[in-house]
Symmetry: C3
Subunit: 249 residues, 3 copies
């Protein structure tokens, strides 16, 4: 049993919208240290890791750790009706999750929860040789541009810049975000890094620009990628891992 | 033969848009006391009653009572081209209805009229035990929320609140608009009232929030519902009746 | 080989969007006097003539006249990603056209060019007996209105007004833009003119209201129509010719 309140319900709404484009159901664990949801996508290529610390919530009352599994598409549909200034309360009892929205009226959506599948997912400690922090909107825009010409995208980091490129049958695209561009906030490259990723997954992940102004990208040659959208001190983050595409180049 | 002018053509446009989602053709009677249009929907579950008094019009010149029958979908398509500040003139002669829009240019749409089907519809005097006045947008929003989980909705009024609820296979929703909420303007309950209605009809009716800030709901246990969207003193109203769904509960 | 820069990339984007709704590929000739693109649509009913003078460009560096043929749909897709304040650079070398967008990051789209089909198109000197200058948005709006009732439209000019009318199975529409209307900027009629045109082509042409506030229409009885969207002194224009529909009336 728990009951938590978000002054700004939009944060939860945006998290669920982003996550639901990658996975269909998720096990949220409400514990004393916050809410955690980790899941692999069905094809085992991408991993989602959401962590919301108690500092995000206006009220946070969790008596006992409770893992609850929900259909994310159903939750997303309900959250779509949240009005801009609505407060959002999540509570759980008797195997039912309640989303309560308080604005000009009071709406309670009660949802059935699902039987969680057994899994012991842990976030693997990724190696990386390059870390880049960008404006999240610029990453999202750049991936949309790459999608115009191809299905896969090459991400690349060197001392001076972060680069996004793609090649398709009708032409190619090359995007450079250099130290001189305002979109590049920070770049720390121990060793140049380059890898290819599937664009549909990356574009879905980049939707998290709705919850964070910046995104941190961790890269290593032909290794999985990590994307971190942080919410600020003591608030948490939404992270993604994505396996590279190992194509003959 | 008649000729009437609306300074703000948007009122007519919004009325027709709302009505055309419920019925396909309508007989408008232009008389000395204003314009009246009453119609049952094809499945005989819902009734529409539009009454626009001469006070709504800038000019109102009706020589002789004329019932004209028009295809509402066709009229709606033409009205969609009305620009925000366009004046709208409706006139009729030789079995042809003309919609004239005057803005940066002058547009006249002439429409064929249809042979009206014989019918002697009168607005039945409904009984009701509860009358509730709400912000019309709140009703519209609440019905959208109910639609997320189900096809039917329960409306309920007691001394303290108006309630909207629905139950579906994936969960349920309960919306309470109480005396303490700004969305509830007035509530007068002689006897608690509760009935179930089909959501698709109710949602179509709630589109009339485009013509009125508030809506008055008349309810009685398992009886038809009346919704009134009034335009103000001496201006008229758009009303709807809807049969309840008598389900085993 | 050439390299030209547009401070406001939106002009090129809007031109290509308009043109690509009429033709699928175009041969752009970059020469010392500017850029020219002339093409007939596949059904030989409409002709497009784009002329951008060097004055439109911030930088204009063309060494040697180069005709390049591109897939307009592909170019349009890339230009859709242009952000409002992006600078646009077009350059060509080794049979590859590069669109470079400079904003918060730097994006280079490189496109394959196509083998231009042989053709020696020249803009025929049209005869006209009536010339009308209108607000381009009013023309676009009026054609949308005509499209509600029919597939063809009659354009007509006399001493006092320009008129657009159409007749369909459900009714007709008549739009009058007279000397007294602000939408009519200039009218010069030597002889009344009237002709019928296919609406789908005309509507596509009217999209050029995105590049010019006004449009000049050249008409003559049952003769082809010319529409000119000018960009101002020393900047160029986008023109269209359209064959009339010679129907039994």
């Amino acid at each position: 049993m728990f009951r938590v309140v978000l002054q700004d319900g939009k944060l939860w709404k945006n998290c669920i919208e982003t996550i639901s484009s990658l996975i269909t159901e998720g096990v949220f664990t409400f514990g004393s240290n916050g809410v955690r949801m980790m899941a692999m996508d069905p094809s085992q290529i991408a991993m989602v890791d959401l962590e919301l610390l108690p500092g995000v919530f206006e009220e946070y009352d969790v008596k006992e750790e409770a893992p609850i599994c929900v259909d994310l598409e159903e939750m997303k549909k309900r959250l779509a009706s949240l009005r801009p200034n609505d407060k959002l309360e999540l509570s759980y009892s008797d195997n039912r999750l309640t989303l309560r929205m308080v604005g000009t009226s009071k709406t309670s959506f009660t949802m059935n929860t699902l039987e969680p599948r057994k899994s012991s997912l842990t976030n693997p400690a990724l190696q990386c040789s390059a870390t880049v922090r960008l404006l999240a909107d610029t990453l999202k825009d750049s991936l949309s541009k790459a999608k115009i010409v191809a299905d896969n995208v090459t991400l690349e980091a060197d001392q001076e810049s972060f680069q996004i490129s793609a090649t398709g049958s009708t032409g190619d695209v090359h995007i450079r975000i250099g130290r001189e561009d305002e979109a590049l906030i920070d770049i720390d490259v121990k060793e140049n890094a380059k890898a290819i990723f599937p664009l549909n997954y990356l574009s879905d992940m980049a939707k998290a620009s709705s919850i964070s102004k910046t995104v941190t990208i961790h890269l290593k040659n032909d290794h999985p990628l990590e994307l971190d959208f942080t919410l600020g001190e003591e608030r948490g983050k939404l992270s993604f891992l994505l396996a590279p595409r190992l194509e003959s180049r």
